[in-house]
Symmetry: C2
Subunit: 426 residues, 2 copies
């Protein structure tokens, strides 16, 4: 008898009927002989509604109070789920993040988990209860204040609890059947990927695939916790995210695909600093200023300097939401660095090809670029890792480029998947 | 510089605009030089909405989970209020009942406060912060589970915190200007009572006046904590509830009115057990069974037994919500006790005359009965205490009887109060 941790997102807990349906799934897992721990997000749009209320009373709500407010969301869903399970004749107990022992730092709105001490959860399991835990939230080690974990928080709660409890598997449920070779809204014959290594999943997540958050995958990799990404609306197997040497889920290492999938991301913007004096330290200075402004840079390209002018251009991509902050920070730097101008472009898209097999296969890059070129889409920036190639293109070209690359590497199935590809909530 | 505890009910926190208005009142109290602690109920209809959700997932939600669910309501209102105060440039920190040190027993849904250890509140005050505390909730001393205090819970939280903090006053805000000589919806010229003793307030509360709950007044009396009942919609003085020897609020003992007011209550039902053998212990047996069913009996009348039959009738009143439970419990008793039948009447009303002065004034009872008789309303049951006379009448006669008694004792003012008389939320 093992421990299974299941996490249900807001789309799986949209209303009373959904909660009752999820309760049945949970009871089925319990009846199958498992100790079951369930991590929940807030119901449907609860978080957005609470945020809207906050902005009605204050243009700049304090992080501490925002966390107090938003954590009401999971409190509601966990209590309702526990009631629904009890109504099916099984004992369930709900626990807040604090009660479940999710100890964090004090960074409100984006707290990091420092420790998980799930004594009350273990006690509940030992009494035969199903434990329901509020995801996304914890308690600060120093201030004892309530914290939230930020984006990907509920998934991270689930993986962290699963690790602390030495669970057999952490099942992440959403309204999608798993991780796909491409977004099925763009590529109708995209295939569900049965198994992915942590590394490939990390690259997929960082490249815009919205199923799992980077942070949760990193936590799972560190703790070697198998994740099973699946739909709460079907009984199908989803995608197993495991160590590349793992024998899960079928008892033997699966054949490794050369290319796992094509991901895309429309959430970035590109900034080009034109006419930067090509002297030691100027580029470093620009990125120091951006780092101070807490901006995460993704891709960077520096043009070859013109010999005549000794000036160069530096382009980089960043989350579009940080665009205004970055432009303001750079504007203050104009006199100091002496660049000519800064250009901002938020009509870009990033397309990434991911596959652990590509490190030993020559010609992958050429084939990827050709597939994109065949659609008439121009590549503006390039970045590569051992198991990923990413390019920046004009936003209008994203769908065509994804479709063409997906076909070029033979990733599609003969059938069209009957799923709607969406987010996982938080 | 003293400590003021303010409590705002759900009607004062109905939406973002109300919360911002309340925030201004709180800041004014702080600017006046007080340390301010604020206890809040859930916003407007939040509790009812959460209860409706609970009943959608389960016909009989567990107390523990219902408490986890409902406490989300105050969490939302306290966080929003703290944000609104911060937006006015003052530091505010919100605390759950558990964080505020409200320690209770484990009776979910109707927990009793065992202890209040407000260390974090004192710390917040010492740093110059305004402390916002979720009313109605606490944490169980034994199980460490979240509890709720049941009816009157938020008011009780406020009085308990005020007592533990040795506050100067506990201000209870609602949408009503104070406690009135009668319900102004029935008696348009009812007057606000400037000052009431704890004892009179207890009798008023127990007799159906909806402003303060019995439990909160008892707590205040035990701790000699002055309560100021007032409206969050005006700056007027409300009703001070104080010890009968107190000099609050005007520096000297106020002249004691003989009669404080006329209260009424339409929430009870009457049960008559007809033809009970008039033997020792039969009546006791009936009330034992009702006590076992957790039913609180209010008034009891036993008719004089008929010499011919040696049978008597026993009538009592009880909360209408307990009517079905009581009838079921009594039906099981029929063979054992051998009564003839039970009659249920929920079309009754209770009218009570309250006044500390009546104990030394003869003729009050006769005047009260005559005022009611003059309206043609028949008195069905009578009960008296040192400072109260209550009668049960047919429900249709309540308005006339209240109006007549109010006039007979000269309680009205020349002006009609421009208020709407309502409840205080929970």
């Amino acid at each position: 008898m093992g421990i299974v941790v299941q996490k249900y997102g807001g789309s799986s807990l949209a209303d009373a009927a959904s909660i009752k349906r999820v309760a049945q799934r949970i009871v089925a897992a319990k009846k199958a002989g498992n100790d079951v721990v369930v991590v929940v997000s807030a119901m449907g749009d609860t978080t957005d509604e609470l945020l809207a209320l906050a902005h009605q009373v204050s243009p700049l709500p304090q992080g501490r109070e925002l966390d107090m407010l938003l954590t009401a969301g999971e409190r509601i869903s966990e209590a309702l789920l526990a009631m629904a399970i009890a109504n099916l004749g099984h004992d369930a107990r709900s626990f807040t993040g604090s009660q479940a022992g999710v100890i964090t730092d004090s960074a409100h709105g984006k707290a990091k988990i420092i420790d998980v001490t799930p004594g009350r959860i273990e006690e509940a399991l030992s009494m035969g209860h199903i434990a329901i835990v509020a995801g996304f939230q914890g308690v600060s080690q120093d201030s004892k204040d309530i914290t939230t974990l930020g984006r990907g928080g509920s998934d991270t709660t689930a993986v962290a609890l699963a690790s602390a409890l030495h669970a057999d598997v952490c099942e992440i449920y959403s309204d999608v059947d798993g991780i796909f070779t491409a977004d099925p809204r763009i590529v109708p014959n995209a295939r569900r990927i049965p198994r992915l290594s942590y590394e490939e999943t990390l690259e997929m997540a960082a490249s815009g695939a919205k199923i799992l958050h980077v942070r949760c995958v990193e936590y799972a990799r560190r703790n070697q916790m198998p994740i099973h990404v699946r739909s709460s609306f079907s009984q199908q197997q989803g995608t197993w995210v495991v160590d590349s040497t793992s024998t899960e889920p079928e008892g033997e290492p699966m054949e490794q695909a050369i290319i796992s999938g094509v991901a895309h991301d429309r959430s970035e913007a590109k900034i080009t600093v034109v006419g930067v004096p090509d002297k030691v330290g100027e580029a470093a200075h620009i990125f120091e200023v951006l780092a101070e402004a807490q901006i995460n840079i993704d891709m960077v390209v520096q043009n070859v300097s013109s010999a005549a002018t000794a000036l160069t251009d530096i382009s980089f991509t960043l989350p579009r939401t940080d665009g205004q902050t970055a432009m303001t920070a750079l504007a203050k730097l104009k006199d100091e660095v002496g660049y000519e101008q800064i250009q901002y472009d938020d009509r870009i898209g990033k397309i990434s090809l991911i596959g652990a097999g590509m490190r030993s296969q020559p010609g992958i890059t050429a084939k990827f670029f050709k597939a994109i070129a065949d659609t008439g889409v121009n590549i503006e920036m390039i970045s590569t890792s051992e198991i990923r190639i990413s390019v920046i293109v004009n936003g209008d070209g994203v769908d065509d480029a994804v479709t063409s690359a997906h076909a070029a590497f033979g990733l599609g199935s003969d059938e069209v998947e009957a799923v709607v590809y969406g987010g996982t909530g938080r």
